[in-house]
Amino acid sequence: MNERSGPQRGVELHIAWYVRLRWAAIAGAVLLGAAAAVARLPIPLPPYLGVLAAAAAYNASFALCQRTHLRCMPCPLRGHPTWCLTGQVAADWVVLLLLLHISGGVENPFVMLMAYLAAMSGALLPLRSAVGLSACGVLAFFAMTYAEAASLIGHVHLGMGPPGLYESRPYVIAVAGGGLAAASLVSALTSTITDRLRRRGEVSRKTAEQLQAATEDLSSALGDLQKLDEEKSRFLYVAAHELGSPLATIESLLATVSDGYAGQVDEGAAVMVRRARGKVADLLRLVSDLMTLSRVKEGLEPTKRVLIDVKSALTRILEDEKVNADEKAITLSAELPRHIPPLYCTHENVDSLFRNLIRNAVRYTPEGGSVSLTVRIDGAAIHAEISDTGIGIPAEDLEKVFTEFYRSPTAKRHAKGGTGLGLSIVKRVVDTLGGDIHVESEVGAGTTFRVQLPGYGSGD
């Protein structure tokens, strides 16, 4: 039983606490002995201090066991901390009884300290052990007093109370009975209260765990919600846009009617057209507001130069372009560092730069190929590499790929609909940002574009 489970660990903490408390009790007893000596009470100090020294010795060994987790010596109580505690409390009873015997027995007002031990065992031990141990302790005290009265063992007469008090049987029985009742009650009470507190502690620990789990659930739900919210804004934007185009056309057509371009309109028809235009105008305002709203939410102002979070821009582009890649069963992979320095440019700059490169790579890669984006950071500089397993660019065409409208014959054969503008836009953006772009290619094997951009874009 090497692993310490919760409750057992709790008992070990109790032992540590009890050991510290015992040091204080021993120190208190030494002070009391000194006070007795000053008061010239006839207490024999050598045995008194001897008992305390023994107590100190076993306490030191307990402390050592505690600190080394009971590994320093073979201990039969290893793995049974409750037994260990019971043993300790029993030893304390022995010490207390010996000290009382040496210092006047029943005459000593500190017999009340038995209640302290009873309370202690109640706090530390299960109910039955605590009450049993306390009862045994008090009975032992009773036996000791009886033995003193019967002169079986010696008695130290303190001379504080009436002489021979310890010989009065009714008195001794009364003290023993009262002590027994008090000690048992105190033990039972403390044990019950401690147990209840322990259980309550257990409950609050469990509650805390549940709370922790609930918090984790909530924060992951929050993340999902935020993602959903982003998607919603994007959807809103697209939907508003789709609604806006036909509405604008309707309004243009109605306007030509109102203005007489579609022939003579009589008064009644003109009123109806005006009403219809009023409604269309309402809808157009709504669409316009929706678009502004979704745009503000996304923080997209494509033409304004701002510090751009390159990583999230790249993530967005990759997400979009994955659709095209999937259509051709092309693997689109990305290796992005944890952090990418921002670029000071427009959203449009970043977007057209990387979107064109990735889109081109996908466009000129045959089905089942792969396209990868790798970004490395060097200080504030960003090194991006876009590689594909595509058709490649013939060596004689490499110089011209950044020229406007230029499309190599291989490119034209492979894919229709290319404008020949993508790479020239890329080149312009890279130049604007004060960066550099290189291309390496092998026909039939693939192409790699290497882009270097100074972080915080220097393009002013």
């Binding site: 806006g244 604008a248 503008l421």
Partner: protein, 126 residues
């Protein structure tokens, strides 16, 4: 001789709305429903001005068509009025990045007939 205006828009109803206004004001109107077709019509019919929808097939189409026209020596002087979608305020979203999209004028749809005429006249330097 009547000035020739080319309208490039993939929505035939939108073309009709512009066409009726321009024709009534004495312009000759030609139309194209894609960027590619617009380029062909420009080569063949030599229009005096182009009204270009920003979003034909894709958002890129209008921009790229504009870009191609303005960057080809034989067509770079063709004046272009670019029409943007609803809520895409020219000043906000499609403010031309001078390096990339040098259209001559931008207007948000829907365009009122009088406004359209005024812009076309300005485009033609009338």
């Amino acid at each position: 001789m009547a000035k020739r205006i080319l309208i490039a828009d993939d929505d035939p109803d939108a073309v009709a709305a512009v066409r009726v206004v321009l024709e009534a004001n004495g312009y000759e109107v030609d139309s194209a429903d894609s960027g590619e077709q617009a380029l062909e019509r420009i080569a063949v019919a030599k229009p005096d001005a182009l009204i270009l929808d920003v979003m034909m097939d894709t958002l890129d189409d209008g921009f790229q068509t504009c870009w191609k026209i303005k960057n080809a020596p034989e067509t770079k002087d063709l004046p272009i009025l670019m029409l943007t979608g609803v809520g895409q305020e020219t000043g906000l979203e499609f403010q031309p990045n001078d390096e990339f999209l040098p259209a001559d004028d931008y207007a948000e749809k829907p365009l009122q007939p009088d406004d359209l005429l005024a812009r076309v006249k300005k485009l033609l330097g009338e």
